[in-house]
């Protein structure tokens, strides 16, 4: 191993923790939730705790906002995927109840596209 080799190994050894720290922590907290009900979109601030009841295509979905986080609490659908999504708190996170046609998207400072496929 030459001295340059050691430099490269050291560089790699420093780069890995840097990547883990920057990519896996310090997520931007979501500030606003965008609730999509059918074709209507409403924006809800996560600043104060409250519970929302929203009438969807099947029935009423209950959405809870607490401590800057948001989640589905109850839903009339069969699968309960939306409830199993749990708390959303980082910008870009998403939970949806397709049968009831209600979904929640968390927005941060700079809202971007969710994904693009082609």
């Amino acid at each position: 191993m030459t001295r340059a080799d050691y430099c490269i190994v050291l560089f790699a050894a420093l780069l890995l923790p840097y990547l883990y720290i920057t990519q896996w922590t310090g997520n931007e907290a979501g500030t606003t939730a965008s609730i999509i009900n059918g074709n209507n979109t409403t924006q809800v601030s996560l600043a104060h705790d409250h519970t929302l009841e929203i009438a969807g295509a099947l029935g009423t979905s209950v959405i809870k906002i607490e401590g800057g986080k948001i989640r589905f609490v109850s839903a009339p659908c069969l699968g309960k995927q939306c409830i199993h999504s749990g708390w959303l708190q980082h910008a870009g996170e998403f939970a949806a109840c397709l049968p009831n046609r209600i979904s929640i998207a968390l927005l941060g400072e700079a809202p971007r596209f969710d994904s693009i496929n082609f």
Partner: protein, 184 residues
């Protein structure tokens, strides 16, 4: 590299140099490894031992950057045609990775002093390969910030496999020089 006559005297024969034969043999070796490796299951898309790069690095050390470019590009091209991924996303990723690692090898060949040994070369080439294919994936296929969550894992794999293939190259060169020593 060479084209043999197959229909009599009027067929043309391309003159080949010993260099062409060398490149062809080494590329064939790299392509074989590339294809065998493509059959191996992978825990994450993008994580592959990258053993074909062992050949690229060994060629770089033994015969220089230009030969390494030939061998690496032929491997990506022919390998993808044989597997059936030519011009598919898989090909784009391995092509961009190969370009990135060759670019880094070019820089490494201009280092002053002792330069890099096999392990340093393999490691930096593996990391460049990963960055290259990661950014291609990000720009072309999945332009979503969530992709960056994968980067630490992918880079860890690149570092581990880079060091392992560096050790393989080192012992390979060691054996080669021992054999050459016996012949002389």
């Amino acid at each position: 590299m060479s084209e043999h006559a197959n229909n009599g005297a009027d067929s043309t024969t391309i003159k080949t140099t010993p260099d062409d034969h060398l490149i062809a043999w080494l590329a064939a070796l790299a392509i074989t490894i590339h294809i065998i490796e493509s059959v191996l299951p992978s825990p994450l898309p993008g994580v592959k031992p990258g053993l074909a790069n062992v050949i690229t690095i060994a060629v770089f050390i033994l015969y220089g950057w230009r030969t390494a470019v030939w061998v690496s590009m032929l491997r990506v091209l022919v390998g993808s045609i044989l597997i059936g991924t030519f011009l598919s996303p898989t090909f784009m990723l391995s092509f961009s990775g190969a370009i990135a690692s060759l670019a880094v090898l070019w820089l490494a060949s201009h280092l002053p002093g002792d330069g890099l040994g096999p392990i340093g070369l393999c490691l930096i080439a593996a990391m460049a390969h990963m960055f290259g294919q990661f950014y291609t994936a990000y720009l072309l296929f999945i332009p979503h910030d969530g992709l960056f969550k994968l980067l630490p894992l992918l880079m860890t794999a690149a570092v581990i496999f880079g060091i392992i293939s560096g050790m393989i190259v080192r012992s390979m060169l060691h054996h080669l020089s021992k054999r050459h020593g016996q012949e002389k």
